[in-house]
Amino acid sequence: MTKEKFDAIVVGAGMSGNAAAYTMASRGLKVLQLERGEYPGSKNVQGAILYANMLETIIPDFRDDAPLERHLIEQRFWLMDDTSHTGVHYRSDDFNEPTPNRYTIIRAQFDKWFSRKVREAGATVLCETTATELVLDGGGKVIGVRTDRAGDPIHAEVVVLAEGVNGLLGTRAGFRKVPKPEAVALAVKEMHFLPEEVIGERFGLTGDQGCVIEAAGTISRGMAGLGFLYTNKESVSLGFGCLVSDFAATMESPYTLLDAFKDHPSIRPLLAGSEVKEYAAHLIPEGGYKAIPQLFGNGWVVVGDAGQLNNAVHREGSNLAMTSGRIAGEAISIIKSQGCPMGPENLSLYKAMLDKSFVVKDLKKYKDMPALLHTNSRNFFLTYPQLLSKAAQNFVRVDGTPKIEKEKATTAAFVKARSRWGLFSDAVRLALAWR
């Protein structure tokens, strides 16, 4: 294909790959980026909430031309049972600030924009090209990649594996394992189109204000899972995800659960009359800190979802991806500027810088959460939501029962379902995992 040798090859033009390619190209490195999709974003799926700060660090003036949908002023957390939801809503006028903190985005459009920035920074971007294999020299150093295009392998001093959660190259080379079913969630998602004014009316929003709902409870039928609804300008992203291991154990169909979520009496009116224009599916890394593989080696680094750098508790992925991509790009630029080889002894700089960032610190904080939710999923996602709904209904409904009897009934229901010891140990374990 090309006889040129590059300073770096970036595999993937998602959040992490674009951040890495942009960072290196804007520092003068000769960068080739490969993307298997027809255009960047054509293979990518996300909710999607964009956290402004991490993009701002890379492209300070992104608000001037990035395709942003709405800036978020309200967040709702719902615990659902079959007929009700108990919710916490946080809405603040403070979020109507000159440089908003969070936006909704549509990945296909956003990734195209980000990729344009990467090209403008000077990188060569090759789409419709699947990298099929890493090329190693006799000493085990990665010296390039093979692609599905005819021709010789392409060579570079270092390869940045930004291939996403289901990356082939790093796993085929034996640098990391394919994620285990209990370390990834399968999410399905639909795009529901509605007129802008209708979305504004239904969610109490004006202009480009946005609102998001995140929901857990019986909607996942006892599996560890989450539903979400994000408002875009003229559409609503609606999705639902559970651990692959739970899907396999229960044999539940993801689209049946998505349909049930849509038909929930709390969700149905929000979507009434919408036109569905896309149905998508994607994995989300959920293994947390303990699932992070080796992140650098002889001539290679891993960034983003491929390295399981995803905070499932806070549903943050793209900002960890962007930040790890940026840091890898910075580390490689530093090594290059010092004229040093791209071996593990120097590329360890990337890991050292990443450890100091919020990426690894946040993941470390929740290191015990995945295991807790996995082993206790029936309590957290089935029993408690039902109990909470009963308790709330008991509290709200006025029917002549003395209040003291109502309280006793509520306590008794919790104890009956989980036993005092069970409740106590769940609470303690949750607190410890959250610490």
Partner: protein, 97 residues
């Protein structure tokens, strides 16, 4: 709670695909009776690409595949399936993602 029944074909019909005719990117290893994980795919593949044929074996038709990787995570390690990405440019093409 009665969910509205949306057929998988109607859902996938919304999506754009460029099928690489004659070059399926996923293959099921020939087997007599399917493993539990392989059987699970007939229910949990979000595009319903996996089906049990009249002989009780699991078959894959990857045309509607959204390349999520769920089947790879469940069935690659034990050799039930061969999994790859489609050639560059082929496969699902999300308009929104």
């Amino acid at each position: 709670m009665t969910a509205p029944f949306v057929r998988i074909e109607d859902r996938l019909y919304q999506n754009r695909y460029l099928v690489d005719a004659g070059r399926p990117h996923i293959k099921v290893r020939p087997h007599q009776s399917p493993s539990a994980n392989l059987l699970a795919l007939t229910r949990i593949c979000p595009a319903q690409c996996y089906e049990v044929n009249e002989n009780g074996q699991v078959e894959v038709t990857a045309d509607g595949c959204m390349e999520c990787g769920t089947c790879r995570v469940l069935c690659e390690a034990n050799g039930d399936i061969d999994w790859s990405y489609p050639r560059g440019g082929f496969g699902v093409l999300f308009k929104f993602g």
